[in-house]
Symmetry: C2
Subunit: 377 residues, 2 copies
């Protein structure tokens, strides 16, 4: 099967790391790229302009949430997900599989697909590979993901193999069902848990089917960074050099850095916004908990070097006060701070790869993280 | 006692209505003015830039909340409330009296002041007229309010009279305690419930003490619009023509319009933000409940004529989805919408007064409100 036009070009390499450019229907995305998660069609607490100003070029939305509420057909009638959420740039949707496994009730998996009851209103739903692709087409997103079965961790090899082969058969059905509008891509997902031979079988099967990009799935499920990086080292080299590689659901800043060093081009994670809602900040100096009483008299900004001048205007004392008082502005400002830091880190990685100085960049990153937060006043 | 410099000048009159200009330490405020409520040092869900962009020139913050958390002395050490909340323009604080009555536990009122326990952590606190003024001075606000006793509604005349006279004695003590930095003003509060003779006694007593402005307190407590307007008609004419008049805690758009017609210059109310958090919008076409299912397929903006171009980019269907899904962006966008509409209304009132066409403006306003929301598609 041939693939419709969907652009990815590697601009520069530094070791296994690459700096590339995705070209999709709604614009270009410089990689390595971080995608904030807009679960229900909104990156929680942030508006389009703020998301874009953070340096974000692509967001992820969740098929599972949107199919249940407000419904894919409704979003299509309203002009598609870009118009609906007022985000004119590229969007990637997951297939819904992961959320069905983690959120839905009474789920039942068969060869045909998965049936379940909505966690919103208890109504029965079915998700097949064909329907997952159709929903993402109705949403009109730039990158669709194949429906796969997400296995828990740990899982025995035999079970992981069976699940992976079911996901492969579903992937082939997704490819067949994919309408392939120009500028819209379909990504396969490599499964196989921590078993190298299963990862190889999965990757080979997906490459045989042929996709616009390849995701590494089934990680960030509790296996730990060391195991995750080992899987990447075994899996990334067997993925096609000319296609984007996406590590799903990852991660903390140093996860991103280490995965980029191993050849990953794309990431998504709820951490910047979810942590922001609990008062936790990611900074160039490591993690900072704004609930901590040591901030209550601190007039300094959370990050004196933040590229966002507005964020430099709020003191740690004020952020502490907002978090302790349960004020919405705390999650808003901390989500924006975290996303801004993530995107600054990605920009730094891209520039370092382009200039062949990734090792030095990573050494600086690690030293700064290890040095820890600002000393008390 | 003489008053320190604090500017107010009436620019234009139309009937009893006035268009004026307040000049305080942190800038000028065109009146009639609406002050959004930043209870704990944050107008819930909105950032400084957004608040200013809505046309807001002055915000209100609550002494009661700030004295309990994070504490007035702490805010003073951090450079004052303007720096703390990153709002460089004028701020008015209430005295804390109203919240002590409505929120605090174990409150006890004596001639000296009020003692109570914090609703945050149960610790004992005392608020005297002198301390209320001191706190507001530590916060560094542009307009301080005298401590008064807020009576419930309904209340017998004898009791209302006793309370009003206690408030008068407290007002005199506030005036004595007021340090009077240039550009900072102290406002008295007329009490007396629905009793004209008590309102007159209160106003005369306050004028005798001498304040930079005069508030009408004890309204918007369940007495209804008709009674409220009657009290204004009896009270406003006896207030000094050359001082600003502030109606506390009011109200809905048509409350504002009618109070402006009766000579009120300033308002504060939680409604734009509180209603925004529950999915309720105030529009030129009346109140619109975004939770209502009739919006779920409506691609039109909430207000096609909104002066904020960003707000015109979000459909009613999307706002409905956000509200139904409990997403933070719903309250954020609706609070911003409501505040934008309130400020647009105030700007319209100011222009109409300046041009001597207030009656026509009010007739148009009433006709548009009565016409109701956009017809279904």
């Amino acid at each position: 099967m041939t693939l419709p036009a969907f652009g990815f070009s590697v601009q520069a390499r530094d070791g296994a790391a690459r700096h590339g450019r995705l070209t999709c229907a709604h614009g270009t995305v410089e990689t390595p790229a971080f995608m904030p998660v807009g679960t229900a069609g909104t990156v929680k607490g942030l508006r389009s302009g703020e998301i874009a100003a953070s340096g974000t070029e692509i967001v992820l939305a969740n098929t599972y949430h949107l199919m249940l509420r407000p419904g894919a057909e409704r979003i299509a009638r309203l002009g598609g997900l870009h118009a609906f959420m007022n985000w004119p740039r590229p969007i990637l949707t997951d297939s819904g599989g992961f959320q069905v496994m983690s959120l839905a009730e009474l789920r039942k998996i068969t060869e045909r697909g998965v049936t379940f009851r909505s966690h919103v209103d208890g109504r029965p739903h079915a998700l097949t590979p064909e329907r997952a692709v159709e929903i993402q087409d109705l949403l009109g997103v730039d990158i669709s993901m194949v429906l796969d079965e997400c296995t828990p961790f740990p899982i025995a090899g035999a079970e992981a193999g069976e699940s992976m082969r079911l996901s492969l058969r579903w992937a082939a059905r997704c490819k067949t069902a994919f309408p392939g509008h120009p500028g819209r891509g379909l990504f396969g997902i490599v499964q196989g848990s921590v078993y190298p031979e299963l990862r190889r079988e999965s990757a080979a099967g997906l490459i045989d089917i042929g996709f616009h990009g390849y995701a590494v799935g089934g990680l960030a499920v509790g296996e730990g960074q060391e195991t995750m990086l080992k899987v990447l080292e075994e899996t990334v080299p067997i993925l096609p050099e000319e296609r984007p590689r996406y590590l799903m659901g990852v991660g903390k800043p140093d996860d991103l850095v280490r995965a980029v060093q191993r050849g990953i081009d794309m990431f998504d994670c709820v951490l910047p916004t979810r942590s922001g809602r609990t008062g936790q900040a990611f900074t160039r100096r490591g993690e900072v908990n704004l609930r901590n009483a040591r901030h209550k008299d601190d007039p300094r900004p959370l990050d004196p070097e933040s590229p966002n001048p507005e964020l430099r205007q709020y003191s740690r004392a004020y952020l502490h006060h907002l978090v302790r008082s349960g004020e919405m502005l705390g999650p808003i400002l901390l989500s924006l701070h975290n996303l801004t830091y993530y995107q600054e880190l990605m920009a730094g990685l891209r520039a370092a790869i382009a200039e062949g100085r990734l090792a030095a960049f990573v050494a600086d990153f690690e030293a700064e993280q290890a040095a820890g937060d600002l000393p008390p006043l």
